[in-house]
């Protein structure tokens, strides 16, 4: 049911916006998950804790929600191992180099009308669309 899907997507988006607002109001931080996660591995204890708390919240959220909304997760392996590994490497490397991901640039940056974030979002969307297009041409989704 597409209409139901659109509604859930929009409501989910509102909740993501709320979560980002909470982090800004209380911690003064931008909820860019790539940035929060990547600075977990800098070995500087200063400001490590709030990042860890946020990430633990994200992970525990999944643990609580898997029984409530099981359709939101693909719990069984779907993607070949090499593809997952490569994808992880590219996402980690790229989001660090480009200083942001879907949340940092796509939501927070665009909300603040940052030119960098608008360009970054258009760029990674185009790259993602091109990648899926090529995979489809190669018969990956048959």
């Amino acid at each position: 049911m597409p209409l139901e899907e659109f509604k859930m997507a929009f409501v989910g988006g509102l909740i993501i916006g709320l979560a980002s607002a909470v982090l800004l109001l209380f911690n003064g931080r931008i909820a860019g998950i790539a940035g929060i996660a990547s600075r977990l591995i800098t070995f500087s204890v200063k400001d490590l804790m709030w990042r860890l708390d946020f990430v633990i919240g994200l992970i525990l959220g999944g643990l609580f929600l898997k029984n409530i909304l099981p359709a939101s997760f693909e719990l069984e392996p779907q993607t070949p191992l090499w593809m997952l590994g490569l994808a992880g490497l590219l996402v980690g490397f790229g989001s660090s180099r480009g200083s942001g991901c879907t949340s940092g640039h796509g939501v927070c940056g665009i909300s603040r009308l940052s030119k960098r974030s608008i360009v970054a979002t258009l760029t990674f969307m185009a790259a993602g669309i091109a990648t899926v297009f090529l995979l489809r041409q190669m018969g990956a989704y048959q």
Partner: protein
Amino acid sequence: MKWQLSAFISGLIFAIGLTVSGMTNPKNIIGFLDVTGDWRPALMFVMMGAILVFATAYRLIVHFFPQPVYDKQYHFSSLTEIDRNLILGSVIFGIGWGLAGFCPGPALTSLGAGAHDALIFTLFMFAGMWLQKIWDAK
């Protein structure tokens, strides 16, 4: 400590948003990016909803609160230039996003739900972040 609790709660609410929106299921991401195939535009609405709330909240917060509740200042990026790193990094990120249908937030939440793919993806994602740091330090 309160500032730790607020960061944790923000992460928790974020996970709820990701799960409700469908962002945690790689199939939805691939469907969204598959514009020439079996396109599923639903995730456009995730961005619309999130930007609607955060764009409003951001302006209200910085207007009415000279400083955040548990910190002395806001931490915003000071970068303004559209440089090579931004473009190159975003292209690399986008390719990875399209390959597996995971970005960092949904991967972490799916990992918590016990998704095998998310666990492997996340391990390699941290490796990629670490590689970038080494590269940068050179």
